[in-house]
Subunit: 412 residues, 2 copies
């Protein structure tokens, strides 16, 4: 390309982001470059071999991501990191509606949420909430469809592998504290219902498109209204300025841009709840009689070595991965090198960030050159063992089976 791009100071601010997106670059480039080999082939491939990052997430680390569509972007299996918390610039993206722009949001601290179905219903700004409470917690954030691409069938939807999941540190106000200050939940309420603040397309029944989800009231106990993710103001791409975090519940239940938190007698009539995100048998449509996609199961997978982590030599090898307990603490992880015939206990690594976070694990083992089918299987403190195979369902939700997550590795 020989045409120069003209930039004046006046439009530099906007232009820079555009420029970078145009080149398939992203703002963590400088950091990535700093760690790249001198000849730096690592920085280039995104532009030539893969889709570029959409501009609203131009700050993601392109080389770590698989871009399915502009709203479905996952982390490569080997790029999840070894330090428990998933860096924000490597965390997956899955938005049911386009993320609002900064202009749509306006002043972050003035963002309002209405709380209903409580003793004293009230609206709060984020500035209000920040003065009312503060807690920090780590949770696994996982798309309901993570692992869909590993089901043997072809369920509809993005063919996520392992990377529509991350472990994230949140800061905000515990929902139970906020509700307590409002006189508690009104009598007879059964669900906690959150409504997203996305701009809805006009001329369509709002219930057909609104991101509004109901979860059982019990989920309130550990839920949070969070304005911070991994130590920074919640990025808009991840639901900022305010997101409902429902620990142990799959991604869609963690409402982005939350503008209404209501305690209700019934589940919402929004399509995303009524017929969407249901555990529908293969070949059937979703309907309210089927189980809703709510809590996540015990699940683990190997992250390294993996086909995308580069060559590994025979000899001593560190087999690492992540393991979550769903609603419970992880007790142990076993690793198999022969596709599940025999198992060895792995070691849990690093600090325990609580039952809703994941643990990283390692099995250090001496291996000869050859091919191995590497599997892992988590057991929770209550003794629940990760399933071998999840029941395939119409939309390929909640695939936690260790067999389908087995990875073939080659040692040279």
């Amino acid at each position: 390309m020989t045409n120069p791009i003209k930039i004046t100071r006046r439009n530099l601010l906007g232009a820079t982001a555009g420029l970078m997106a145009a080149a398939g670059l992203n703002p963590s480039l400088a950091r990535a470059q700093a760690a790249a080999p001198a000849a730096a082939p690592a920085a280039a491939p995104a532009a030539s071999t893969a889709k570029p990052l959409p501009s609203y997430v131009s700050w993601k680390h392109a080389d770590s991501m698989i871009i399915h569509t502009p709203t479905t972007i996952e982390t490569k299996r080997s790029a999840i990191g070894s330090s428990i918390i998933t860096p924000s610039d490597r965390l997956f993206i899955r938005n049911n509606l386009p993320a609002p722009s900064a202009a749509d949001i306006g002043d972050v601290n003035a963002w309002q949420i209405n709380v209903e179905g409580v003793g004293k219903p009230q609206a709060f700004s984020i500035a209000d909430l920040k003065q009312m409470g503060y807690e920090t917690m780590a949770t696994v954030l996982q798309c309901s469809g993570n692992g869909r691409g590993l089901f043997p069938g072809k369920p509809s939807g993005t063919r996520w592998q392992t990377g529509a999941a991350g472990c994230v540190m949140w800061a905000g106000i515990p929902v139970r504290e906020l509700i307590q200050s409002l006189g508690g939940v009104s009598a007879g309420m059964v669900y906690m219902t959150g409504t997203g603040g996305e701009k809805l397309p006009e001329g369509i029944d709002p219930n057909a498109v609104v991101v509004e989800r109901s979860v059982p009231l019990s989920a309130m106990q550990d839920a949070m209204l969070a304005w911070e993710m991994n130590g920074e103001p919640m990025p808009l791409a991840h639901g900022g300025p305010l997101r409902l975090i429902v620990p142990g519940y799959s991604g869609v239940n963690n409402i982005k841009y939350i503008k209404r938190l209501a305690f209700t007698k019934e589940q919402t009539q929004a399509a995303i709840q009524k017929t969407g995100y249901r555990m529908s048998p293969v070949g059937q449509k979703g309907d309210p009689s089927q189980p809703a996609v709510w809590t996540m199961d015990a699940k683990s997978w190997v992250t390294s070595p993996s086909p995308d982590s580069g060559p590994v030599k025979a000899g001593l090898v560190q087999i690492t991965g992540v393991a979550m307990g769903g609603l419970e603490d992880v007790a142990k992880v076993d690793v198999s090198l022969d596709g599940g015939k025999t198992w060895q206990a792995a070691r849990l690594v690093g600090p325990d960030l609580g039952k809703y976070a994941w643990r990283q694990f390692v099995l250090a083992t001496n291996l000869k050159a050859g091919q191995y089918d590497v599997s892992c299987r988590v057991t929770t403190k209550a003794g629940v063992e990760q399933v071998a195979t999840s029941t395939e369902n119409a939309a390929g939700y909640l695939n936690s089976g260790w067999i389908s997550h087995t990875v073939k590795i080659n040692l040279a």
Copy 2:
């Protein structure tokens, strides 16, 4: 400025970073913008009112940083975040020598370290180390001079306030495991000595400039050779591709670009050890008879509200901060609103990442409009209480006194 800047695809990669630096922008801009008000005055001030970020750290979050010099950059008191781990793009920078470039480093996995003073001395590449072991830990990384600017005198050196510190998650190989595989430390060794791989200026006695530090052998027990920081390959600006992490020891002892790890009978003769980083009485030069700057003390400080955190309304207020125990777990933190006359117990927040990490704390309290002198004081599990005043020393090291860290806040 009306002169356009011409950019071709060929030089876009380099030019983008330069452009952004020229405008005082940084690569987390897109993320910051996403969370900024529509009118977005937040993105601009760096260019007009503060020094721009140097290009090697152009990816830092400019609005969160105070740039003293190109090699001394701290986090604003209120910008440390509420989620325990300090985001990489907000972590302070303090380099004794300029950071190497990616070209200086070459292939990251081929970076070599020599291990000496052990049964079987040997050189290892990072690729070797990654196959030999894996652990994750969180530590407080704090510049030896953090708080220097809060001493009543004028000790020489950068006038750091509270922000030359962060809590960071590392991944790498435990030093003790590596050394064990080499037959252990040779008899009679007393120190662990690390040598940095910075390019030394020519024509000068290397001992005058090399970053080489010795710490007591006991520090080996929990030390790590780390190749990952906060889930990403260690940035060069922070000592990548390989850094020695010595938990509980101040920043300078955590050797960047480490190329040699030696167990020695004597402390290194490098000036940075022999006469530098000594607890010298005010007015005296450093000499080896004075205590070396090694372990950190119990210390805490309030991060919000603070003069740089924006206006806070009277009423219920969340007073938050960070607290470290040095070599020990934090047991409790007390907060005073009257400059230390009376104290109230704060609540520790979020998961405990281990004794070398810091805890975040909060005191929720109802306050009338007015001015308050807010102090905090940490107590370790062994009952050691943060000092009221640290002894001032020639270079202003290790200021942990709660009195000097008191912050005045105004509630409207």
